[in-house]
C-alpha cells in the first residue's frame, strides 16, 4: 500500500467490480482528444487498409455498412483513469476487413482523419479483438467520440481505439504513432498499467 493520506476516506461504491489498477468507475463518457473534432460527412468517408507491399483496399461508407455487423458490449479503460463498463457498440470486425488481405506484417499504424496516428501489433486487431465501430448505444457514433467511425480495441487503453479512423497501414516493423511519440506507452495494456513510455 502506498502513502496514506490522513483524513481521506473516498467515496466507495462500484462495489464488487474489479477494475484495472489505478482506474475509477465513470458513468458518463469523457472525451480525450488532442485537438478539434474533425467533422466528416459519411459521403466523404472511406476506410483503407494498405499492406507492406503497397496493396490498397478501400471501403466506402456504403460498402462498410453492407458488411456483416456485430453488436459488441465491452468495458473500456481510458489512460486518464476512468473506466466505463458494459458500453454497447455496433461495428464491423477487423477479422472481416482483414480476411481477404495478403500480408506478413506484424504491426499496424492507425491513421485518423485530422492526422493523428497510433500504433499496435497486428495480432491485437485479429481474433475478435477489434472492430471499426460506427454505432454507440443504439445510435450513430457522435463526432466527439470518433464518429462517423472509430477503431474499437477495448483490451488496450482507449487512445488505441483511434477516433475518426481512416486507414490501417500494415508494417513489418513497429512505428510509434502521435500519442506514443507524445509519451504514451507503445502497447498500453490497462491490466499491466502501461500508461506512459517506460511503464
Amino acid at each position: 500500500m502506498g502513502i496514506v493520506t490522513r483524513g481521506f476516506r473516498g467515496r466507495r461504491g462500484g462495489g464488487d467490480v474489479t477494475l484495472p489498477p489505478g482506474q475509477y468507475l465513470e458513468t458518463g463518457f469523457p472525451v480525450l482528444s488532442a485537438g478539434p473534432t474533425p467533422q466528416i460527412a459519411p459521403a466523404a468517408w472511406a476506410f483503407e487498409i494498405t499492406t507492406e507491399s503497397g496493396q490498397e483496399h478501400r471501403w466506402s461508407w456504403a460498402e462498410l455498412q453492407a458488411l456483416p455487423r456485430e453488436d459488441i458490449t465491452v468495458d473500456i479503460h481510458c489512460v486518464t483513469k476512468w473506466s466505463k463498463l458494459g458500453t454497447r457498440w455496433t461495428g464491423v470486425s477487423l477479422d472481416v476487413l482483414l480476411s481477404g488481405i495478403d500480408t506478413s506484417a506484424s504491426y499496424a499504424l492507425v491513421h485518423s482523419y485530422g492526422g493523428y496516428t497510433t500504433n499496435l501489433p497486428l495480432a491485437d486487431l485479429r481474433q475478435g479483438q477489434a472492430w471499426v465501430a460506427y454505432g454507440y448505444d443504439g445510435r450513430p457514433l457522435r463526432p466527439e467520440h470518433g464518429g462517423p467511425a472509430r477503431l474499437l480495441v477495448p483490451h488496450l487503453y482507449f487512445w488505441k481505439s483511434a477516433k475518426w479512423v481512416q486507414r490501417l497501414e500494415l508494417l513489418t516493423e513497429d512505428r510509434l504513432g502521435f500519442w506514443e511519440r507524445a509519451g504514451y506507452h507503445a502497447y498500453g495494456d490497462p491490466w499491466r498499467e502501461q500508461r506512459y513510455a517506460g511503464d
Binding site: G2, T5, G7, F8, V31, A34, T37, K81, G115
Partner: protein
C-alpha cells in the same frame, strides 16, 4: 470554491508549462482515488503547484480544497504530457482560451513566458461564470507586457461591462485571439463541452486544426 496547493516533492523534474501531475489519495484501508491536475507553475525543482476547483459532490476535489491539512502526505506522479505544452523556444504568437479551471495550465504558460523573458505575444481569453470565480485575479488584472487578457463572463457581468453575460461566441474568440493569418498556436482548455465548441469556432475562423491543441478536464458528454 478553489484553492492553490503547494506540494513539496522529492526528485520531481521541473516540468514544461501545460503538463499535469497525477495525484493518488489512499485511505487507511488501502482504497485509492487518482485524479489529474495541471501544474499551475513550472520551473521549480522541488515543488508542484496546482489549483483545484471543488466540484459539488466530487470525491477528490472537495477534499483537496476544503479538508486537506498542511503537512499531509499524498502521492504525485509526473509531470506528464508532451503535446499540450508551451516551450519558451516557440516563436509564434499564442492564443490561450480557458473555461473555468481550464485556466490553470494556461497560467503556467504565461508564467513560463515571464520566467524565460520571452517576448512572444500572448492573448488569453478567459471564460468564467462571474468575477468572483476568476482564478489568479490580481495577476491577470495587471498582465505582463505582451500579454492581452479578455475575460468573458457567462452568468454575471461586472457592472459597467459592455458585454452582457453569456456563453463565449465566435466574436469573442475572433476579437480576443490572434487572427488565423498570424498562424498562432492556440491552446484551449476547460470542460469538455467548452473545449468542443471553442475548438470548432477556431477551425471555422480558419485556424489550422494542427495548431489548435486541446485539453479536456471533464465532465462528461
Amino acid at each position: 470554491m478553489a484553492a492553490t496547493l503547494l506540494l513539496h516533492v522529492e526528485g520531481q523534474p521541473a516540468g514544461v508549462a501545460g503538463q499535469r501531475v497525477e495525484i493518488r489519495l489512499t485511505a487507511e484501508d488501502g482504497y485509492t482515488a487518482d485524479r489529474e491536475y495541471s501544474l499551475a507553475r513550472t520551473g521549480e525543482a522541488d515543488r508542484a503547484e496546482i489549483t483545484v476547483q471543488a466540484i459539488d459532490g466530487g470525491e477528490v476535489s472537495p477534499f483537496l480544497v476544503e479538508d486537506i491539512e498542511v503537512g499531509v502526505e499524498l502521492e504525485a506522479r509526473g509531470p506528464i504530457g508532451g503535446w499540450f505544452v508551451w516551450r519558451p523556444d516557440q516563436t509564434e504568437p499564442v492564443t490561450l482560451i480557458a473555461g473555468g479551471s481550464g485556466v490553470v495550465p494556461l497560467m503556467a504558460m504565461i508564467r513560463a513566458r515571464r520566467a524565460a523573458g520571452s517576448k512572444v505575444p500572448f492573448r488569453l481569453i478567459y471564460s468564467v461564470r462571474s468575477r468572483e470565480e476568476m482564478f489568479y485575479r490580481a495577476e491577470l488584472r495587471q498582465p505582463d507586457p505582451g500579454v492581452d487578457v479578455t475575460v468573458v463572463h457567462t452568468r454575471e457581468a461586472p457592472e459597467g461591462s459592455p458585454r452582457p453575460a453569456g456563453r463565449i461566441t465566435v466574436a469573442d474568440v475572433n476579437s480576443g485571439g490572434w487572427p488565423p493569418d498570424f498562424a498562432p498556436s492556440c491552446y484551449v482548455c476547460g470542460p469538455t463541452g467548452f473545449v468542443e465548441s471553442v475548438a470548432d469556432m477556431l477551425v471555422a475562423l480558419g485556424h489550422d486544426p494542427h495548431r489548435v491543441r486541446t485539453e479536456r478536464f471533464g465532465p462528461t458528454g
